[in-house]
Structure formats: structure tokens, C-alpha cells
Symmetry: C2
């Protein structure tokens, strides 16, 4: 009944954003049109630039606008530590939340034979080449803890060990400040079987 | 610590959307970059076009890409009924949710002396001219029910009545399916004092 095809297109387009349903998309459209056109224009330009110009780091595969990301270029980071994660978001999380000061390698996924995701998609050859440079002293596996992700970690651990490099795994256990009664039983079982001496 | 200035810009730009905080903005960015670049590009283009090309209908002031909106152009709508609302979103809501088949007039706000919003900002002259054409038989006031919005309705009602045109107000009361105990007392008082004969 309305001619506002452009408005409707915008509502539809906004729904490519995760967590945005028809109602919030509509709210966004009316907000931008009525109160923040400049914000909308800036968003449009930044979005366009980001979609076109952001690629993957040649060395660690995280997102970057350059050939190499800042973390790979940085002189101040320990080149003998390599943390293997699944996504660029994981890199950002570890970088923001911890004092980890080594390098990263981003798998951009995890082994998932049913979805046709094999070692080729995860840059495993690239990772092996990196290990073969002889710079790496320890590989920290920071993949998630579902079955497929554990399998991915296991698969990587095998060929890292073959090269005589130390492999470690981020600790799985009860989160800090977590109430035991609300922790799922899998995590609880892990935390119990993986208990360490009290110091 | 990262070079991903474009990623950071995009996270910041997304926050112009209502309801999007730093965490969801970041989630959106990684989703678009990793899984939906095409969606992101389409969104960027649509957004750009919408911000630049959508203006206000010359007659009713709702959002439209054309000089006149579809509702004002439509031959099938009753030209003797005029519903006055505050926002284009209200037009969409009434149009979608009811069988109202008259025309609209959008104030794009409500009287708010403290914020410097006076009759000039609400297109009151335009509304008066419209009333003076003699086409309008009834003006339906569909502004909200806060004090300022009620005052706006009152102000409009005055000059509509002066012109011998019928003024009505959308009913204020308990929502359909609403539990009495959860309805705020203002609404409840309104519903009680505005009670009608049982038919």
C-alpha cells in the first residue's frame, strides 16, 4: 500500500545484521531517517569501505586492511609463541582481555567434515610452513570445546608435536565468579577431572 | 594495539543504530566480514540511497522518495478523513494494523516549548491550508497521550473546530488482551472515566 520501496528495501537490508528482526529494523530506519541522517551516511560509507577493503592477513589470516596485520608486524610481540584460534573475533577477545603477547594464527573455522570443511579451508598448510620456520617454541590451542572443535585441536596438536614443538591448550573449567550450580555438567566434569594442586 | 582502524570505525558507526551497543556492533562487524559481505554491500548501498533520496511528502510530510507519497496520491482513499499523527512510523503502524482508509498528516514531532518545538516545526500552517481547502470532513487526532502530546492534540483541535470540522480522538483505554493488574494507573483511570455504554 505504500510507495516507500526504498524504506522497505532498507528494512530488509538491515536484517542481514545478526539480532535484527523486522521490528528493530523498522525502528532503525525511522530513527536514521528522522534523527540521524549523517550517522546513516557515515555508516553507509564505512560499511562499503570495510566490505571492499578488509581482507585477511597473509601470515595469520585475521581481518586486516593491509597485507599484514598489526599483530604480525609488531616488533614487541614474542615470535616464539603462537596462539591458534578459530576467528578474528577470538583474536580481538584474547588481545583485549589478556596480557598474551605472542602471535596468532586464525583458522577461520574448525574441522567439520559434514559441512565439507577440511584442513585445506583452515590454512593448515600455511600453519605447518609457519611451524617449519623454526621460530615457534610453543603452540597454544585456543579453539572452542565442542566435539568438532576439540577434534580440530587434537588434529593440530598431532602435527605440532611431530615437529618437536610444545603444545598447550587453554584451560577448560568453571568461569571466574561462576556459580557452580549454574555451570553445565560438561564443564563441571572437565573442571573436576582437570583439577590442579592447590597452591 | 590493532591496525584494524576500519573495523573499529565500522563498530563505532554501527552504534548510530538504536539498540546497538559495543558488543552487538562488534558481533555485526565480524558476522558481515566473515559470512555476509554481499549483505553488507547491499546494506551500504541501500542506506546511502535512503539517506540521500528519502524526503518528506509535500502534502502529508511522511517519508517518501517522491514528491508525494503513495497514500496522498492514491485515488482509493477517502479524502474527507484526515488522521493527524506524530511520526511516519505512526502512519505505517495505522496503515498496517487498521482498516483506516483516509489520508494522513504527519506533525514530525509534538509541541515542546522547552525543546523549542513550536507550531512552525509541526507544519501547522500547512495543516491549516489543507483544512481550508474544504475537502476535510473529520480530523482524527492520533497523537500520543503524554502531557505534551495531549497539549498538541488540544491545540490542533481548537483550530480545526473553529473551521467547523469534526474533531475526534483515538480512544485511550485498556489494550486488547491486557491484564487489568498490569495496566498503569493513568491508563486505567482514563479507561474508567471514558467508559461507554455496554452494547
Amino acid at each position: 500500500m505504500t510507495d516507500n520501496t526504498l524504506i522497505e528495501h532498507l528494512v530488509t537490508s538491515l536484517r542481514c545484521l545478526p539480532g535484527v528482526g523486522p521490528k528493530s529494523a523498522q525502528r532503525m530506519v525511522y530513527h536514521l531517517l528522522g534523527r540521524d541522517r549523517d550517522g546513516g551516511r557515515i555508516l553507509a560509507n564505512t560499511l562499503r569501505a570495510a566490505m571492499d577493503d578488509i581482507g585477511n592477513c597473509r601470515l595469520c589470516r585475521t581481518f586486516t586492511e593491509s597485507e599484514l596485520c598489526a599483530l604480525c608486524v609488531s616488533e614487541s610481540r614474542d615470535p616464539s609463541l603462537l596462539c591458534v584460534v578459530e576467528t578474528p573475533a577470538n583474536v580481538a577477545a584474547i588481545n583485549r582481555g589478556t596480557d598474551y603477547n605472542g602471535r596468532f594464527f586464525v583458522l577461520l573455522g574448525h574441522l567439520s567434515p559434514l559441512d565439507g570443511v577440511g584442513p585445506g579451508h583452515l590454512g593448515i598448510d600455511q600453519l605447518k610452513k609457519r611451524l617449519d620456520t623454526g621460530d615457534i617454541r610453543e603452540v597454544i590451542l585456543a579453539t572452542g570445546s565442542t566435539v568438532e572443535r576439540q577434534a580440530t585441536a587434537h588434529y593440530i596438536a598431532e602435527f605440532v608435536r611431530e615437529r618437536g614443538i610444545l603444545v598447550s591448550r587453554i584451560a577448560l573449567g568453571v568461569p571466574l565468579g561462576g556459580e557452580l550450580e549454574f555451570v553445565d555438567s560438561g564443564t563441571l566434569a572437565h573442571a573436576l577431572s582437570g583439577r590442579g594442586e592447590y597452591r
